[in-house]
């Protein structure tokens, strides 16, 4: 946890966790978008 910048070369222990957080959030956003569209398609 003493390292601060994930942009610096070399492994950073927080990098994997940060990428996992971002992927979960992105999946939620894309999933929500698809849900809205598909829900409307099913009504149409």
């Amino acid at each position: 946890m003493e390292r601060a910048a994930m942009t610096e070369p070399g492994p950073d222990p927080r990098r994997k966790r940060a990428i996992a957080t971002a992927l979960v959030l992105a999946a939620f956003a894309v999933g929500l978008y698809v849900y809205v569209v598909v829900h409307l398609v099913s009504r149409g």
């Binding site: 946890m1 003493e2 390292r3 601060a4 910048a5 994930m6 942009t7 927080r14 966790r17 940060a18 957080t21 971002a22 959030l25 992105a26 939620f28 956003a29 894309v30 929500l32 978008y33 849900y35 809205v36 569209v37 409307l40 398609v41 009504r43 149409g44």
Partner: protein
């Protein structure tokens, strides 16, 4: 609030002088530095504020007296529509993202945002989106004239400018979602050792909650406008009653996005005010934990109140009642925040420099906007006031004296830290008082106009509304012109302001004040501070 165990970072600026920013255009095009990107966002927001403000001046010029003076009704409606979209998506939201970029890493003790390249991409997506949106005035048929709500069937019938707007909304939505992912990831993963969630400055908390709101509602708006695009070009009839579709469905989906959007535009403002008031009251923020929970409560409640924008569409009485009570419920956590700010000031050693003036102005005027919101939340009252100028007065009290005053107060508050120079205090106070007088003169009479029945989105009106409209226009011109003082003050500060102290505000206690030199060096917290 957190305290810092050891301030070892003061010399960082000197140590890393050789590691400063590149020069020229490429610095701004390719930058991945959170401070540079924050500056880009704030500059962009300022430009869009004046673009949207020019449209507002044109609207008020047309409404200065009854009859058509300058514009035809179609163009007038385009002005009101694009004014709203530009101010929301171009000015207020990017300004708060600019604050987030500048402040979130510094206030949690991180070196930068978690994904600096994504950060750059988030900003540069905004520029073509803004060009599409404003440039749609030049498209055949002119810009869209649907109102910012884009209700069908009108939005299905508009010209190519609607497609430009839909593309712009998609791009701005993608930018917001990427920015939010970056902010959440940064806050959850990059806090300095000892910086627990409940030690974070309230500005960081409000942005964390706002970012979740953005991720939860932006895809919904994107879905709705995608369907609109399909109705326009691919023969579907999702929102067309003639084809078996349902225009009311669009309204439900739009306002499921639209109401949380209101809180997206105000919660970071709450955060800024929560930083300013303790600094100038020289007291810790009263009820820190309750402020966090109140912010989260407001965000959660914002998902179940969208129907209050639709009391007149013919929902069942039970539906109207539900949305009415849910909306009224929001006043509880909002009241908690207002009382906490007042309690923070109570018996504080207060001074009234420009940021504090804007914070107190925010407090007074936002409360008025909140109360008129309560009036509109009452379904039978709203049925009378719906689509009148009372609504226009209400949301301008919330969003101008709320969001914009917080942004301006924040600019004055952090400008010494960002630039290393002090602004002109006298000019700042002139700016505040002219804004305060101009704003109230512009928007308070609109309550009277609305109560008297003047509809919104009309370029002409009956003679009995003439006098208050004239005063409203005079106030708007004063308010608009007084914003030039802000630009002048900021530019002269950057060029020739007196050097600022390390901590010009005695009561400020977050990491950027206690732990970093003024101006902040290009790279900060490469070694994380330890917070106790």
């Amino acid at each position: 609030m957190s305290t810092v165990a050891h301030a070892h970072d003061h010399a960082h600026g000197d140590v890393h002088e050789h590691h400063g920013p590149p020069h020229g255009l490429t610095r701004w095009l390719y930058t991945t530095n959170h401070k540079d990107i924050g500056t880009l966002y704030l500059t962009f927001a300022c430009i869009m504020l004046f673009v949207g403000g020019t449209m507002a001046m044109m609207i008020r010029a047309e409404l200065f007296e009854p009859g058509l003076q300058f514009f035809n009704p179609q163009f007038f409606n385009s002005l009101t529509t694009v004014h709203g979209l530009v101010m929301i998506f171009g000015a207020i939201m990017p300004a708060f993202v600019g604050f987030a970029n500048w402040l979130v890493p510094m206030e949690i003790g991180a070196a930068d945002m978690a994904f600096p390249r994504l950060n750059n991409w988030s900003f540069w997506l905004l520029v073509p989106a803004a060009i599409l949106l404003v440039g749609s005035f030049l498209a055949p048929g002119g810009a869209i004239a649907t109102g910012w709500t884009l209700y069908p069937p009108l939005s299905v019938q508009q010209g190519i400018s609607m497609d430009m707007t839909i593309l712009a909304i998609h791009m701005m939505g993608a930018s917001s979602i990427m920015g939010s992912i970056n902010i959440i990831t940064t806050i959850l993963n990059m806090r300095a050792p000892g910086m627990t969630l409940m030690k974070m400055p309230l500005f960081v908390w409000t942005w964390l909650i706002t970012a979740y709101l953005l991720i939860a509602v932006m895809p919904v708006l994107a879905g709705a406008v995608t369907m609109l695009l399909f109705d326009r070009h691919f023969g579907t009839s999702f929102f067309s009653a003639a084809g078996g579709g349902d225009p009311t469905m669009f309204m439900h989906i739009f306002w499921f996005f639209g109401h949380p959007e209101v809180y997206i535009m105000i919660l970071p403002g709450f955060g800024i005010i929560s930083m300013i008031i303790p600094a100038f009251a020289r007291k810790p923020l009263f009820g820190y934990a309750s402020m966090v929970y109140a912010t989260a409560s407001i965000a959660l409640l914002s998902f179940i109140v969208w129907g209050h924008h639709m009391f007149t569409v013919g929902m069942p009485a039970a539906g109207n009642l539900f949305f009415m009570y849910a909306t009224i419920l929001i006043s509880v956590p909002t009241g908690v925040k207002i009382f906490n700010w007042i309690s923070t000031m109570w018996r504080g050693s207060m001074t009234f420099e420009t940021p504090m003036l804007f914070a107190v102005g925010f407090l007074c005027l936002f409360t008025i906007g909140g109360f008129s919101g309560l009036v509109l939340a009452i379904a039978p009252v709203d049925i009378t006031l719906h689509n009148t100028y009372y609504v226009v007065a209400h949301f301008h009290y919330v969003l101008v004296s709320g969001a914009l005053f917080a942004i301006i107060g924040g600019v004055y508050f952090w400008l010494p830290k960002w630039s290393g120079r002090m602004y002109n205090e006298t000019l700042g106070k002139w700016h505040f008082w002219l804004s305060m007088i101009g704003f109230n003169l512009a928007f308070f009479p609109q309550h009277f106009l609305g109560l008297a029945g003047m509809p919104r989105r009309v370029p002409d009106y009956a003679l009995q509304f003439a006098e208050w409209n004239m005063w409203s226009s005079i106030g708007a011109f004063l308010f608009g012109a007084s914003q030039l003082l802000l630009v002048y003050n900021v530019v002269t500060t950057l060029r020739s302001g007196k050097p600022a102290q390390q901590k010009p505000w005695e009561g400020a206690d977050s990491l950027e004040w206690t732990h970093l030199p003024t101006p902040v060096p290009y790279h900060t917290f490469e070694t994380a501070p330890v917070v106790k």
